[in-house]
């Protein structure tokens, strides 16, 4: 619940921060006002896209006239305030706080997935911590890998609660919670159940919110290299949104990596074919269109609701079981790709084994890979589904500058008479419309506060009728739509739900640098996570 009182609109407040006078709208937090005068207050539990928690206590500042320190991340400015953000006492207190956090943190930086991109590392470095006042001692809990996609290494958890907030406040899924008290306080699933047992949609917002390496994607980039070593028939598909992730991760200017560069780079790494994911997405849309037109003809249960990934079903099952009858088991581009990879060598003299690897800024896809514990259906599955973060790390291991590689076209998707695809229906306007909605979802809405909003409506002409298609971003918005479907107030033909609030571009598997850049663009704020 947001307990911060709504500030009066259009009132300006003038205050002094570190001696500099600044005027800001009423309701501005001290933290934000400080950024405006170039004072960067340390934070760890704060995130611009989540409500303040004020638990790390790093952001405390001195205010003239107040005997107690105030949390800059949670305190709005007031007229005539005189705030000091740096002082010997504050420095000492912040240093002690960091040492307290480090007293319960394993010194494993070199082998941690967040080495060089960790907010705890950042502040420990900036505060020049050398000797630890309270040396950390194990034993450390072992990482929890109870889903195919996320690894929870709680030994690294700094208990900032950002993941819980992202899951409960941001997404309103409620898969994670703070639990226990005192020294046993920890971030955990209820009854320590596997993430797969609860409503988790594997959007990865928790991993995206984590300032350290406590929750992260299961890194399978090593496995990708082993695949390439073991087979000369490994094909890849990638999502257009991974380009931005690669650019931001490697520090390239936006737009400097083209699809052609990426195709070339993947081939250099050893992929024998690189196909356009969009082609499979179009095929998937055709399959979905068939389902939709059958539902429309039957006047069956409408709207057809499609989550962006099969994990959405777990959420609906846990929280809105009456809505299960609307849910479409969408066949994903990844499974079509996998099917095609296996099938294409039927009778053809190409070397085996054939492998399929997909890359996208999506965490949930991992559950559709053969490697995932969740994939028990035995249906077609890619061998590996890697996030944009893993793709970027994979490319970093290579020593070429992918921008310099000659632009290479995608390999063609050949559907000859010897190759079949399940239910490969013809292209149709309905399929094109579904594909267009899907693309909108993938391109995303980078600016959550900007135009477009969490719900977008599209009208599609079909057999003389105007059908309403609704595109939903994020589970918080999805819940409202599900409720409207259940109470009958939403008359739509098709609802597409993107688990991630910013769409695929800002997905839970996207490069952290891209996510930080998107947050910065949205809030006009500084983000210390970017070095």
């Amino acid at each position: 619940m947001d307990r911060n009182a709504t500030p009066p609109a259009a009132l300006a407040v003038t205050l002094s921060i570190d001696g500099a006078t600044v005027t800001v709208p009423a309701g501005t937090l001290i933290l934000e006002a400080a950024r405006a005068v170039g004072s960067e207050i340390p934070t760890l539990c704060q995130s611009d896209s989540l409500p303040p928690r004020a638990v790390c206590r790093l952001c405390l500042v001195e205010c003239d006239g107040a005997s107690k320190l105030k949390a800059a991340c949670a305190t709005p400015v007031w007229e005539g305030a005189r705030v000091v953000t740096v002082s010997p006492a504050l420095r000492r207190i912040r240093q002690t706080i960091l040492e307290l956090i480090l007293s319960d943190h394993p010194p494993d930086c070199l082998t941690c997935p967040r080495n060089l991109n960790c907010e705890l590392q950042l502040w420990a470095t900036r505060f020049g911590i050398r000797a630890l006042a309270f040396p950390p001692k194990g034993p450390w809990p072992k990482p929890i890998e109870d889903s195919g996609a996320l690894v929870r290494d709680m030994s690294k958890c700094v208990k900032c609660g950002r993941c819980v907030s992202a899951c409960q406040d941001g997404q309103e899924v409620g898969a994670l919670t703070a639990a226990f008290r005192a020294g046993q306080y920890e971030i955990v699933t209820p009854f320590r159940q596997a993430l797969l047992e609860g409503p988790c949609v594997h959007c990865g917002e928790c991993a995206a919110a984590c300032p350290v390496g406590a929750i992260a994607e299961k890194d399978e980039s090593e496995a990708a290299f082993r695949l390439l070593e073991g087979s000369n028939a490994t094909a890849a598909i990638f999502s257009a949104e991974t380009l931005a992730g690669t650019e931001d991760f490697l520090g390239y200017p936006p737009g400097s990596v083209t699809p052609g560069n990426m195709v070339a780079a993947l081939k250099r790494l050893g992929f024998f074919e690189v196909l356009d994911r969009a082609a499979f997405a179009r095929l998937a849309a055709r399959v979905e269109a068939e389902k939709l037109s059958r539902a429309l003809e039957r006047e069956g249960t409408l709207p057809l609701i499609a989550g962006c990934a099969p994990t959405f079903r777990a959420f609906v099952s846990a929280r809105y079981p009456e809505a299960l009858k609307f849910l479409s088991n969408a066949i994903s581009p990844e499974s079509l790709f996998a099917f095609w990879m296996v099938d294409r060598f039927r009778g053809a003299p190409l070397p085996r084994p054939a492998r399929a690897v997909s890359f996208q800024p999506c965490l949930a896809r991992k559950l559709e890979s053969r490697a995932s514990a969740a994939n028990q259906k035995g249906g077609p599955a890619v061998d590996l589904a890697l996030t944009a973060r893993e793709l970027a790390r994979t490319l970093r291991r290579a020593s070429f500058d992918l921008r310099a590689l000659p632009a290479t076209p995608f390999d063609p998707l050949v559907l000859g008479p010897s190759l079949t695809l399940p239910d490969a229906p013809a292209a149709s306007p309905l399929a094109e419309a579904l594909y267009a909605v899907q693309r909108e979802g993938e391109k995303g809405r980078p600016h959550a506060k900007g135009p477009g909003g969490a719900l977008r409506e599209f009208y599609v002409d079909f057999k003389g009728e105007k059908l309403l298609f609704v595109l939903v971003f994020g589970i918080q918005a999805a819940r409202k739509v599900l409720e409207r479907v259940l109470d009958g107030s939403l008359k739509a033909a098709y609802v597409k739900i993107m688990s991630c609030p910013k769409g695929c571009l800002g997905g839970g598997g996207q490069a952290l640098e891209t996510l930080a850049r998107l947050r910065m663009e949205e809030n006009g704020a500084g983000d210390p996570a970017i070095p």
Partner: protein, 169 residues
């Protein structure tokens, strides 16, 4: 160990008008009715579904508050105060008498499933030797025999034996 049925749990929630604000009272009553002095996952799931609150919130409550237990406990919860006013006034002695009489260490349940011994924080019975509590009743510290009488009173269901150490003003 018989734990409560779905209809029992629903009845408890109905007593509180299925009001999520009364979650703590509901869970305390469910714990009491369970016969095992705890709330199990099955009950938590039912409460989650009936009241429309996420399972995470229920789990946070069950683990945050000291009075709840996820693991089964004995019929009678015997709690010895370990806070400073009792500790320095015979609290250690009370605890050791209880452990000795019951034959268990703090955190353990007697083999017959009747008593679980735990240490607890102050429950407002200070000033009369190390205090202990059995269920809702508070007792003063006393000699080993006196404490044994109290325990026997529960074992034999004879309340008169408790009066010796009953905490009065």
């Amino acid at each position: 160990m018989p734990e409560l049925s779905e209809s029992q749990a629903r009845a408890i929630m109905a007593d509180f008008h299925d009001d999520p604000q009364r979650l703590i009272a509901i869970l305390l009553d469910i714990q009491e009715a369970s016969g095992a002095n705890r709330v199990e996952k099955k009950s938590a799931l039912l409460v989650s579904e009936t009241l429309g609150v996420p399972l995470t919130r229920i789990y946070e409550i069950l683990t945050f508050y000291s009075m709840f237990s996820l693991a089964p406990r004995g019929k009678y919860l015997v709690e010895a105060c370990e806070s400073a006013p009792c500790h320095f006034d015979g609290g250690e002695t009370t605890l050791s008498h209880l452990a000795d009489i019951l034959g268990v260490s703090p955190g353990e349940t007697t083999a017959d499933g009747l008593f679980t011994l735990e240490k607890s924080a102050c429950f407002g019975a200070c000033g009369h030797g190390g205090a202990f509590k059995i269920g809702d009743e508070a007792y003063r510290g006393g000699s080993r025999n006196q404490i044994a009488s109290v325990i026997r009173s529960y074992r034999e269901n004879s309340p008169r034996l408790r009066e010796g150490l009953a905490w009065l003003y």
